[in-house]
């Protein structure tokens, strides 16, 4: 037991001058800059929503390509998915901003972050969509056909509604992930919430205050997304699965 009690001279417990403990919080400057922070939060939401929408569209195409047996499309889709899922998001953003920049293609920080997020979202969502589709038993299709439904009706009324139920929560998670990952925009000087926070704290030196407030704002945004998503799902999906 005694070994667990920290010795007063433990270097991790005290700071020599005591500055760390005596840090004085100054919130005023943070509140004065609230409009800028809110603007940053808006850019964060903006880029995440756009990255999600574009990611969904591309993922639908990639999932179809992957389930299709035509070789070149399937190959492209598989490569995309593998790279997107197995390399760090940070690298994707660096590639889009500095990598393409070195090749003479200069993207704005916003477009670079957006492209990276779209790339990754599409990769993950492809697998989500494919899995969701394949989890619907084939017998649902033959049973529907035997009732005289056309193929389009089978998809419209039987396959897609069931699929949507299964991919809904993974999609929500992906959206939350996008919101949090867009904070990597800080590395390329993007004006989203983290980038804005970084800029403001470097001007005022109120590092802790700014980042704490930004963290709370991220938390509120993602919580709001999760709560509205679950409310919407209750409205959309009445059936049991």
């Amino acid at each position: 037991m005694g070994a667990l009690i920290k010795h007063p001279s433990d270097p991790f417990l005290t700071t020599e001058s005591g500055q760390g403990m005596d840090y004085e919080f100054h919130w005023n400057v943070v509140f004065q800059n609230m409009p800028e922070l809110l603007n940053g939060a808006f850019v964060t939401l903006h880029v995440s929503v756009l990255a999600m929408l574009l990611g969904i569209v591309i993922a639908i195409l990639l999932a179809i390509a992957k389930m299709n047996n035509s070789k070149p499309y399937c190959y492209i889709a598989t490569t995309w998915v593998e790279i997107a899922r197995n390399t760090p998001a940070l690298f994707q953003i660096y590639m889009a901003y500095f990598g393409l920049g070195a090749l003479g293609i200069h993207l704005s920080p916003y477009v670079a972050v957006l492209s990276a997020l779209v790339f990754i979202n599409a990769g993950y969502l492809t697998e989500t969509f494919r899995g969701g589709f394949q989890s619907i038993p084939n017998t649902q299709y033959s049973a529907s056909k035997s009732l005289g439904m056309t193929s389009i009706q089978v998809y419209r009324y039987i396959i897609l509604p069931q699929m949507l139920r299964r991919i809904y929560h993974p999609m929500t998670n992906q959206f939350v992930w996008s919101i949090l990952m867009s904070s990597l925009g800080i590395l390329v000087g993007m004006g989203e919430l983290s980038g804005t926070t970084q800029r403001l704290q470097s001007l005022s030196f109120r590092t802790l205050e700014f980042f704490m407030v930004a963290a709370v704002m991220y938390f509120i945004i993602t919580k709001l997304v999760l709560i509205s998503s679950s409310l919407l799902s209750r409205k959309l999906f009445k059936g049991e699965i």
């Binding site: 049973a143 035997s146 009732l147 439904m149 056309t150 009706q153 069931q162 139920r165 059936g239 049991e240």
Partner: protein, 240 residues
Amino acid sequence: MISIQNVHKSFGDLEVLKGVSLDVNDGEVVSIIGGSGSGKSTLLYCINAIENIQKGKIIVDGVDVHSKETNKDKLRQKLGMVFQQWNSFPHMTVLENAALAPRIVKKMSKEEAIEIAKKELVHVGLGDKFDVYPTKMSGGQQQRLAIARALAMKPDCMLFDEVTSALDPELVGEVLDTLRLLADEGMTMICVTHEMGFARDVSDRVAYFHEGVIAEIGEAKQVIIDPQNPLTQKFLSKVR
């Protein structure tokens, strides 16, 4: 009236139906028995145009099932089919399950579709389950839902593919009772079944399938109780 004329069906190199001929009259109940892999399910899928055929003809109410000109979706409205595995639509209530096809395939009004669906659900004994989701029901109830869902399309003929073989033994009775009820009402039925008692008591005729051909066909009691073909005798002595 269903007329099956010298039908041949292959999957790749595997010939599954090797010249099957069978006429089923209106109001007649024909049971198909036979060993696993003998082509019983395949024949039903061919009648319903879910599978194509290589040779021969299947005529349903004067319509050539596999002709290019035939609208398969329209044809399937005349043929109700129930599968071994109950295929309830899990995202819809029992009532929605039964009302969907009348509404979107037959383009009935919502009220009409619901009325027909309710009637057929009561018919199969699910009158108290309209607003339940199928996943909350037993296999026997879901299988009866599948029957009601098919009946709501007012088919001329029903095809049943071993509808009791995936059920727990204590649930088999309620589904067989439903089939018996339909037979008594004069529905034309082709039943692939492993229930020899049902085949004997409910059907008019029984056909014994062996390796893609009908090895024996005749009046139900005679085939089940006193089969003539040695192959049928051997099969029946095994299942008893």
